[in-house]
């Protein structure tokens, strides 16, 4: 059996977090290749349905990242909206049989390439402990 290699989907806001992820690259900070980034303009764009959809399709983890609270969001308060939505969704996840730790909300600024890399390293480690997405293991998915 090969070692469990989690797949993480990241929804990153264009202005801070996506730029932070780029900075990690420019600074050649290495992190494990488990995340696939989807760029959105603001973390406030992330509909809980996207996250659920990702989990249903077998994602082992989902990262939502945006500009720092309280006031770094490029669109005034999208990060607060993301915060509320993700917090609520975490409560709901359990009902679907998904550990809430698989979903993370983080704030990464454009100058925090190292922070982005650390978050990914950390998340991969955590999720490896949790094992594969239970929906995937249970075969209940619609992939």
């Amino acid at each position: 059996m090969t070692e469990f290699d989690p797949k993480i989907v990241g929804f990153l806001c264009n202005w801070c977090s996506y730029a932070g992820a780029d900075l990690a690259g420019v600074s050649r900070i290495q992190y494990p290749p488990n995340i696939r980034i989807v760029r959105v303009m603001c973390s406030g764009r992330v509909d809980p349905a996207f996250i659920l959809e990702a989990f249903k399709s077998g994602a082992d983890g989902v990262l939502v990242a945006g500009c720092h609270l309280p006031a770094d969001c490029h669109y005034i308060s999208g990060n607060f909206k993301a915060y509320r939505r993700v917090t609520l969704l975490k409560k709901l996840l359990q009902q679907f049989g998904i550990e809430p730790e698989r979903l993370r909300l983080e704030w990464v600024s454009a100058s925090e390439g190292d922070r982005f890399a650390t978050i990914i390293k950390d998340m991969v480690k955590e999720i490896k402990k949790l094992g594969p997405n239970p929906l995937r293991a249970g075969g209940k998915t619609s992939g």
């Binding site: 600074s27 900070i29 290749p33 959809e53 909206k81 100058s111 992939g143």
Partner: protein, 1003 residues
């Protein structure tokens, strides 16, 4: 041309500075002639592999600018050319240009390269610094702009093969040199520099020992399109070296050679080369840098220097190398040097000479033809308060020709020169330009998606890790992909031509580029689509470099898998892309400049000179900022007089509205249309404007170290300066301590100005009181550029410089009222006591406490240190990522007056590219309501942070497109999924997100 002025500018030199100036000027409504002596533009930057301190790939960040210059209809490129005559005066010059023949008809050559493949002659490849060969018919490098071949007639044997096979019939053996006369209003000089010829330092063996190379040659060796394909090999026999020595200051800081100045960029490029070399060589490679002072004085440079030591294990030896010898058997090199008073010898596999910058070739002739003055090193003569003006009105200078400097400073100064050149001919704006015509947009609404995919090797940045051919093969199999190919650099001009060809040939209606980040390169590719009649929104990028190959350098296979996933995911999104319209908005031709120091005032003046109204907001009760505390300079100018005259100019200019004692309360709007509320006393006022320039300056750090504030003999340099200026100085012994509050844990970076400030004060002391003993305790003396002269002068006048390191920081005590400084003497290995009458602390400029608040209001980022963070450290030093907001001066990073002024002029230019337009296309990504689905619940209306949504007569939601900024938060909450964000629709995001997961589930 009422007053005989001509709305055109001549830019001499097509390096990064010249190109930036040309783009800014053309973008502001003037005609530009950009001439270069070389067959293509790009200058030295096009030869670099990476750039510091970000390790960005040099060609990647330069190529978009070159391509843009190549396709800007108001820039005429004249290559292989030089100026031979000049007449007329500012506003109305006539210039003669001699263009050397290429023996190729530029109109006809399409750059296919068949000729070079067939050419039987081998010639030395100068672009790769003679490390390999090229054919006699050639282009300088694959991404050359213009992409036109040239025949090296010295090498050509006239066999006629190229002429025979050229289908375009472009080869013209008989072509002759041509001369033309141009009429222009002003001139910008950006001829760059030449590298010092290390043969003049015979002791280092360059030219005798094969494995001694220059830093530029080494740069080519590191590069994927270099002589060894990006492998680090010894020129002698092609082996990988185990140990490389870098020798600093070759041809710089060398009084014997008469080159006393510091070349300003070599410390950093050597650190970069050492880091990149270590990344390239999989086996253990040792890199050692021999230096006198490490001059890492720029934005976040010290952090880079620290990383080189700590993370990459680059070794630094403080010593001037005496000479280099060679072992004839192994071709290894012996480096002889003295460390801590002891002579040493060490063997290396390769030696890299960090060669300094010299004035450009034939500089005397250029100066003579144009009638401009040169300084004693034959760089262009300028002054502190007019760093861009040459001695002749109407002719301006930027880049390394003004003084040795790095890329961002060249770019900022180039924009600055553009401001000056435009100001001469401001009345002629728009008179000589043509508007770019695009083909009509193809209607793709009835077409099935036909996707073309272009995957970039990015030299070896991607291709060295990710298996690009495999990714291409994967892409070919994806639904709706009808074409996929790989490119060495997808952003180069020839690839733009290819993309257009493929769109036409295969009727593509969606294009995907797998390369770097859309944040820097999306505009370039969108323009390519537009030129081919495709809507610019039918484009997507897969970020397989910054977010893949660069962060998974040691896992090539998994990186390849990830790259495939990323390409697959944007293909999934691209299938659902729809064409969008870019709304057009009007521009309020008024500027808002925040900060009334020398930077802010200069920006305001330059904008006013271009004919724009400006609001200048200063929170203090008077103008002047930091400059108010400067009483004298290293040079002879009187700063207080200059300040008075600038303030006078500002106050007298009727286009500038000065608001003192005023705070910014609120900023709303977007590029072209901002609304700002300012408050003064109890009164609030509203200003409408099109752009914002942040010039808020910095604050002097208040030290807590070394008894400052406790003992009145302990001063900051600024306080000492005031005493010296006001005749209140009286001391027999003065000690200065450098880097107090900087280059430490809390503030790891250098504050750039303190070394010069200390030397300035030391020289003033020696002038006023030659008997006074002055000790400067320092870590590195960072008097870069021509400031090095003053360092030498101070040493000559008896100022004692004593180095300390972090283990031996100076100690200061007070006993029985006596102030005592203990300084570590490294050679004696003991602490030496000094009893100063004055202890002056060199403290850094630190960010204003208010920065955070302002950054939030403007929605712009700060660096970790708390200074404002520009859009791109190398190539967009004066722009924020948010359109319409710019920065300059100390708010950006500590810097001396002349650099602040250059930046301030540059910020004015950048702002004027917007203010000069009547209308502006803005981002077309706005929310869209599906009227059939909307039930009028109003949730989106309450959520929208910009009140951009309202209910229409029928009670359903309607988006006001100019107000919508495209965040998409409405779309994330609509219970009926009736409102969505274009280009980021629910379906697109889900498709993209799920495509990466394919293969995870075996459903």
């Amino acid at each position: 041309m009422a007053d005989g002025k001509i709305g055109a500018v001549l830019v001499v030199g097509g390096g990064v500075a010249g190109v930036q100036a040309a783009l800014d000027i053309a973008d502001s409504g003037f005609k530009v002639y950009l001439i270069d002596r070389a067959p293509s533009i790009g200058g030295v930057m096009a030869q670099l592999d990476k750039t510091f301190p970000t390790n960005d790939c040099s060609m990647c960040i330069l190529a978009p600018k070159l391509v843009e210059a190549g396709r800007q209809p108001n820039i005429t490129l004249i290559t292989n050319a030089e100026v031979t005559e000049l007449s007329g005066k500012a506003g109305n010059f006539e210039v003669r240009i001699r263009k050397q023949s290429r023996y190729i008809n530029e109109e006809k050559c399409n750059g296919c390269g068949l000729c070079a493949q067939k050419c039987p002659v081998e010639a030395v490849d100068a672009y790769n610094r003679g490390l390999n060969d090229r054919s006699a018919i050639y282009i300088e490098y694959p991404q050359a702009v213009p992409l036109k071949y040239m025949i090296d007639r010295e090498k050509c044997i006239g066999c006629g093969i190229c002429q025979e096979i050229c289908r375009a019939e472009a080869v013209e053996y008989e072509q002759e040199d041509t001369e033309t006369t141009l009429k222009i209003g002003s001139i910008i000089l950006a001829p760059g520099f030449t590298s010092f010829d290390p043969r003049l330092k015979t002791e280092y063996g360059y030219g005798r020992f094969q494995n001694v190379v220059t830093s530029i040659e080494f740069e080519r060796i590191l590069n994927a399109s270099g002589p060894y394909g990006g492998l680090i090999l010894r020129p002698s026999e092609g082996e990988i070296p185990r140990k490389i020595a870098f020798i600093q200051c070759v041809g710089s800081r060398d009084a014997q050679l008469g080159n006393n100045y510091c070349s300003a960029a070599c410390c950093m490029y050597s650190i970069k080369e050492a880091i990149i070399a270590k990344e390239h060589v999989p086996i253990e490679l040792e890199c050692t840098i021999f230096y006198m002072d490490i001059r890492a004085y720029g934005k976040e440079f010290d952090a880079y220097y620290n990383r080189a030591m700590e993370e990459h294990g680059v070794r630094f030896v403080r010593s001037r190398v005496a000479d280099v010898g060679e072992d004839p058997l192994t071709s290894n090199l012996f480096v002889h040097y003295v460390e801590d008073g002891e002579p040493k010898t060490e063997e290396f596999g390769m030696v890299v000479l960090s060669v300094g910058m010299r004035p450009p070739e034939n500089v005397e002739k250029l100066a003579e033809v144009l009638g401009i003055g040169l300084n004693r090193y034959e760089f262009c003569q300028t002054d502190t308060f007019s760093p861009i003006e040459t001695s002749k009105p109407g002719i301006f200078v930027c880049g390394a020709f003004a003084a040795p400097k790095d890329i961002p400073e060249s770019v900022a100064q180039a924009s600055g020169a553009a401001a000056k050149a435009i100001a001469v001919i401001a009345s002629e704006r728009g008179k000589l330009i043509t508007v770019k015509e695009y083909p009509p947009e193809r209607d793709v609404s009835r077409e099935e998606p036909r996707i073309g995919v272009f995957i970039c090797h990015c030299g070896i940045n991607i291709g060295g890790i990710v298996n690009v051919p495999e990714v291409v093969e994967h892409a070919k199999k994806l639904p709706d992909v009808v074409y996929a190919e790989e490119n060495l650099y997808t952003c180069s001009q020839d690839t733009q031509v290819r993309i257009r060809e493929k769109i036409r040939e295969l009727n593509l209606n969606r294009v995907i580029v797998g390369a770097c980040t859309p944040r820097t390169h999306e505009p370039l590719f969108r323009e390519t689509l537009r030129e081919q009649g495709l809507n610019t929104y039918l484009f997507e990028m897969a970020n397989i470099r910054d977010q893949c190959s660069w962060v998974h350098m040691h896992e090539p296979e998994r990186a390849t898998e990830k790259a495939k996933d990323l390409v697959r995911s944007v293909v999934a999104k691209a299938r659902l892309l729809e064409p969008l319209k870019k709304p057009v908005t009007s521009v309020i031709p008024v500027g808002l400049v925040i900060g009334g120091g020398v930077s802010g005032m200069t920006t305001a003046l330059e904008l006013a000179r271009q004919g724009f109204e400006v609001h200048l907001v200063e929170r203090a009760k008077e103008l002047g900022g930091h400059l108010r505390h400067i009483y004298y300079l290293l040079g002879s100018e009187n700063p207080q007089e200059m300040l008075r005259s600038i303030i006078e100019d500002v106050s007298e200019n009727e286009r500038i509205h000065v608001h003192l004692n005023t705070a910014i309360v609120d900023v709303k709007g977007y590029v072209g249309n901002f609304t700002t509320i300012i408050r003064s006393g109890g009164n609030e006022k509203q200003i409408e404007h099109g752009i914002i320039v942040v010039a808020t300056g910095a604050t002097e750090y208040e030290p807590t170290e070394y008894l400052y504030g406790i003992d009145s003999r302990v001063l900051t340099q600024r306080e000492l300066e005031e005493r010296l200026a006001k005749g209140q100085f009286n001391a027999k012994t003065v000690v200065m301590i450098q880097c107090v509050g900087s280059r430490n844990e809390e503030r790891p970076n250098c504050s750039r100005i303190c070394c010069s400030q200390a030397i300035k004060n030391a020289l003033k002391i020696k002038e006023l009181s030659p008997e006074t003993e002055v000790y400067v305790l320092y870590k590195d003396i960072r008097t870069y550029g021509f400031k090095e002269d003053y360092y030498r002068e101070a040493a000559d006048k008896g100022v004692l410089f004593i180095r300390y390191d972090d283990e031996h920081k100076p100690r200061v005590t007070r006993e029985n009222g006596k102030l005592m400084v203990l300084a570590w003497a490294p050679i004696l290995k003991t602490w030496v006591p000094v009893e100063p009458d004055i202890l002056a602390l060199s403290v850094p400029a630190v960010p204003n406490a208010n920065n955070e608040h302002l950054a939030r209001m403007l929605k712009v980022p700060l660096t970790k240190d708390g200074f404002f963070l520009e859009a791109h450290m190398k190539l967009r030093p004066l722009d924020f990522a948010t359109d319409g907001i710019f920065l300059c001066g100390l708010a950006h990073w500590p810097k001396p007056i002349e650099e602040s002024i250059s930046q301030a002029c540059g910020a004015a230019t950048r702002a004027a590219t917007i203010l000069s337009k009547k209308t502006l296309e803005v981002e077309g990504i706005v929310a869209h309501v599906d009227e059939d689905l909307c039930v009028g619940c109003g949730l989106c209306i309450t959520l929208c942070p910009y009140s951009a949504i309202e209910k229409d007569e029928t009670g359903i939601a309607r988006v006001q497109e100019v107000l919508c900024k495209g965040c998409g938060t409405c779309g994330a909450s609509c219970p009926k999924r009736a409102i969505t964000m274009q280009q980021f629709t629910d379906a697109q995001i889900v498709a993209q997100g799920l495509a990466v997961l394919r293969g995870v589930v075996h459903g």
